[in-house]
């Protein structure tokens, strides 16, 4: 058995390349690399028969591959049981290879950097080795460890470590989830390191690679993502190969290599390196092809217009399907040819075929995608230009009818009655704001939002971080219920860090662009005001897009966890909402002067859309809108001339309860918990915070109502 182990941040070069022979057939290659950025690069220099590969990253995420004799079975096994501890354990204990010096070195380097996850991992390994060498009673060890972990309150791996001392118990699942936990605790860190390394890697990029690979720094992340993602897709592909292999048993060997090379896409993406002759001929090129398809997929997602990207991805999928079909056909043809030939020739044919395929498919696909991307970019630029011109051209040509209709449809939330609209129009006339002016304003505002979103998406996707984020998806499903809130908080923190990073890096740029389109103002004060409001808008929309990218795909899974956790409370509130649905406004002690005839139906309509919204920011907006519409209806329907109306918190809360019951939304508690977990701390000091707090108070109070 052969092992290759990499530690990414181990800065001291212990031994560049060291082989130790142990017993029979057991060879160990230890490689510690000082180069922080490209651990995978050097990895490729290790010659041929890597059977298992371990990548130790500062995040604590581990990546390993296994090439066994029966690839089909093992592929599944790997994907299902990505299990670090077992593997390392085997290395150090059964083979006693990773002598304690090596572990100590890892430990020291991580200790100095303060990366606890990996440090603990290393200590754990060391302890385990020692335990094997000098066995003491289990209970003693447990005590030792629990003391150790008590020192690190943030560290959530204690379960795993304790469990590891009873090897017969099946601990794989538990430790897996915990592993994920730790990676999540490092999530914020992860973002940071990613952003840092990107800057340097970008500079070193060649123009050739820039289209194939977003950045070298993210190669490892990419690869891990591919694998984690492929936990579903990979299985399907293997199942495909299953059916294939049933049909064509004679090409079994080639199939095996195929799946293997797919797995090896991890190792591929750098050109111009000495991979070793054998690999270049057999596995590597094919893996290269695969990874190109991955990067192309990734590029599609960078194209911001949703519909277009969808189309593209569809096209691509179709292409891939066609490609697969072609492959199959080719294989069938070759099968026939083979059948004609003698058995001796078969073995020679298989690699040749593969070479042909790979050589053909690789350049065609790559160049196609390149061209596509270029066209896309051009289109986008054109679109942008057109948009900029159109805003002002079109508005001049607007007919009066159109603008009138538009103003009506774009009205801010108001009471339902027609009189409101009339009032609204009156107000507008008084403030010298013609409908035309207003539409222009609105259009430009919307444009700003859209443009901002595009900018942000470009900023994110061009860095290749989105791939890293996809990993989250598989993690969510493995979360324990107790950790849901913590986990949500860590996502929130990650989003915040992203936002800050983007604002720091691109904020001024975006602001300048927007200021150009907005035009300059004469007054300094008004200019400053404009800038402030634009900054606010930029922050909001960046936040929203980030949430859309990061949280939206995960929403279903996360909210499920919340709903399971707060099932009991949800049920209580749902029941009370059902029971109280027929009660009148008096029941909630709403004062008579605040009881409108419309019974706040508009507000409850707005609130009923809460569960359908997926982003936290959207949900907060729904809450704000409902409370605004409550004020509006009170103002419109209950106010008397010459008398000012003020809705105090005491009067507002019962109205909010009434609206909640009218809207008949379900699972309020879990929604509220979801929002508290995803709430922005600075936002919670604002208006959003106030209405959200009164919202959650109303929920709490609903429980007690009978």
């Amino acid at each position: 058995m052969e092992w290759v182990i990499f530690s990414r941040t181990n800065q001291q070069k212990i031994k560049n390349k060291e082989t130790i022979k142990l017993r029979n057939k057991h060879t160990t290659i230890l490689q510690s690399i000082g180069d922080v950025e490209y651990p995978v690069l050097k990895h490729a220099t290790v010659r041929k028969p890597q059977k298992r590969i371990l990548l130790l990253k500062p995040i604590g995420l581990v990546d390993f591959r296994d090439k066994p004799r029966n690839s089909k079975r093992v592929n599944k096994r790997i994907l299902k049981k990505l299990h670090l501890y077992d593997q390392i354990q085997k290395v150090c204990v059964s083979q006693s290879v990773l002598s304690l010096t090596y572990i100590d070195n890892i430990k020291k380097s991580y200790e100095s950097n303060g990366d606890y996850t990996v440090m603990h991992l290393a200590t754990e390994i060391g302890e385990r080795c020692q335990a094997k060498l000098n066995p003491t009673s289990l209970s003693e060890k447990k005590q030792l460890f629990s003391q150790d972990f008590a020192n690190f309150s943030n560290f959530s791996l204690s379960n795993t470590f304790l469990d590891l001392f009873e090897p017969e118990v099946e601990t794989k699942r538990i430790s897996m989830t915990n592993l994920i936990n730790t990676t999540f605790e490092g999530f914020g860190y992860f973002v940071k390191s990613g952003s840092d390394s990107r800057g340097s890697s970008e500079d070193s990029q060649d123009s050739e690679y820039s289209e194939d690979e977003s950045s070298r720094g993210s190669v490892t992340e990419q690869s891990t993502n591919q694998k984690l993602e492929s936990s579903s897709s990979g299985e399907s592909s293997t199942s495909d190969s299953d059916s294939d292999s049933e049909k064509k048993r004679k090409t079994d060997q080639a199939k095996e290599d195929n799946t293997w090379s797919f797995g090896h896409s991890l190792l591929k993406p750098i050109k111009g390196l000495d991979y070793g002759d054998d690999y270049e001929e057999e596995g590597w090129l094919i893996s290269g092809k695969k990874s190109v398809s991955h990067s192309s997929e990734y590029f599609c997602s960078s194209d911001d217009l949703d519909s277009d990207s969808d189309e593209l991805s569809h096209q691509k999928k179709n292409k891939e399907k066609e490609h697969k079909i072609k492959q199959k056909q080719k294989q069938k043809q070759k099968q026939k040819q083979k059948q004609e030939k003698k058995n001796k020739d078969k073995e020679k044919d298989v690699p040749n075929n593969k070479q042909k395929k790979s050589k053909k498919s690789f350049p065609i696909k790559g160049s196609f995608m390149k061209r596509k991307n270029k066209q896309k970019k051009k289109k986008r630029i054109l679109l942008k230009k057109n948009k900029n011109q159109n805003i002002f051209q079109n508005t001049n040509n607007f007919e009066i009818n159109n603008t009138f209709v538009k103003t009506l449809t774009n009205l801010p939330i108001q009471g339902q009655s027609l009189s409101n609209i009339q009032l609204y129009l009156k107000k507008e006339n008084e403030t010298n704001q013609t409908p035309l002016n207003r539409t222009i304003l609105m259009l430009t505002n919307r444009e700003i939002g859209e443009r901002l979103k595009i900018e942000v998406k470009n900023a994110i996707f061009s860095k290749g971080e989105s791939l890293a984020l996809r990993k989250l998806n598989s993690f969510v499903s493995n979360q324990k219920l107790d950790n849901v809130e913590k986990f949500a908080k860590s996502i929130r923190a990650g989003v915040d860090q992203y936002r800050e990073y983007i604002i720091r890096k691109h904020g001024n740029e975006i602001l300048e662009k927007l200021l150009q389109t907005e035009g300059k103002k004469d007054n300094r004060d008004s200019q400053a005001k404009l800038e402030r409001s634009l900054k606010f808008k930029i922050e909001r929309s960046i936040n929203e897009t980030l949430e859309k990218i990061i949280i939206e795909p995960l929403y279903e899974k996360i909210i499920n966890k919340f709903e399971i956790k707060y099932q009991g409370l949800d049920n209580i509130i749902n029941k009370s909402i059902q029971n109280l649905s027929n009660k009148r406004q008096d029941f909630f002690q709403i004062p008579k002067k605040f009881q409108p005839q419309s019974q706040f139906c508009h507000s409850s309509q707005i609130l009923s859309s809460l569960n359908a919204k997926k982003l936290p920011s959207e949900k907060f907006q729904v809450i704000l809108k409902t409370s605004n519409s409550i004020f509006q209806t009170v103002k419109d329907e209950c106010s008397k001339p010459n008398k000012e109306m003020y809705l105090a918190a005491d009067d507002f809360l019962p109205i909010l309860e009434f609206v909640m019951i009218k809207s008949k939304i379900t699972n309020l508690k879990s929604q509220a918990e979801f929002l508290t977990a995803f709430s922005d701390k600075t936002e919670m000091q604002n208006e959003y915070g106030y209405y959200f707090v009164s919202f959650s108070i109303a929920i709490e109070h609903l429980k007690t109502l009978k």
């Binding site: 500062p58 000012e644 105090a648 919670m684 208006e687 108070i697 109070h701």
Partner: protein
């Protein structure tokens, strides 16, 4: 400077909302008042050329929402405790509020005790000494205001802003309250500590 959260506390019908309203009217034009909701208010106050933004939260005073009010107090830098000078009960009930507040936020908070309706001097039931004694006891400042006439309102808020400024400067580190924090606050704390750790880790990569 960041926004500083201020909560308005007091028994129901004591005149919290009208103090709020008066504070609004002194600053804004009458037309604009109608577009602003009186429950939540953000306002810049100048203190010796420096500006503080106060975000003032109106809270519910009725008994039935009493147990839920602590949600409002979180992260607040100051509290204005309002009582009615014509109602002895309202002053007595302040002590309950104070206890609750301390339970939630601890001692690190700027306190103001405000007697409302000072224009109704004939109906006065609460002696000024009582109120001032209470204020001394808890380290608060006592004011007599009238929301109706606008007496002392601006002075009160100005003093509040001053004290909040001073308070924030003295306690630049975020509030670390110990006792009965719930999930939300606890998680926040975790994030903060983590951030600190991450900052220390910068040298890694």
């Amino acid at each position: 400077m960041k926004k500083q959260k201020v909560v308005l506390l007091g028994k129901g019908r004591v005149g919290k909302t009208s103090i709020f309203k008066r504070f609004l009217q002194n600053e804004f034009h009458d037309n604009e008042v109608t577009t602003i909701q009186p429950q939540y208010l953000e306002k810049q106050v100048k203190v010796n050329t420096e500006k503080v933004t106060l975000s003032i939260w109106d809270t519910a005073g009725q008994e039935r929402f009493r147990g839920l009010n602590p949600l409002f107090y979180r992260n607040s830098k100051a509290a204005i405790m309002v009582y009615d000078i014509t109602d002895q009960e309202s002053l007595d009930s302040l002590e309950d509020w104070l206890a609750e507040l301390k339970n939630q936020v601890g001692h690190k908070i700027v306190l103001m005790i405000v007697g409302n309706k000072s224009d109704l001097k004939k109906k006065r039931q609460v002696s000024i000494e009582d109120a001032e004694n209470l204020a001394k006891k808890v380290g608060a400042q006592h004011f007599c205001v009238s929301a109706k006439t606008g007496e002392n309102i601006d002075e009160m808020f100005h003093e509040l802003a001053k004290r909040v400024m001073k308070f924030v400067k003295e306690n630049k580190t975020p509030l670390n309250t110990t006792k009965s924090r719930r999930n939300f606050a606890l998680v926040n704390e975790d994030v903060e500590t983590k951030k600190k750790k991450k900052k220390n880790n910068d040298g890694c990569c």
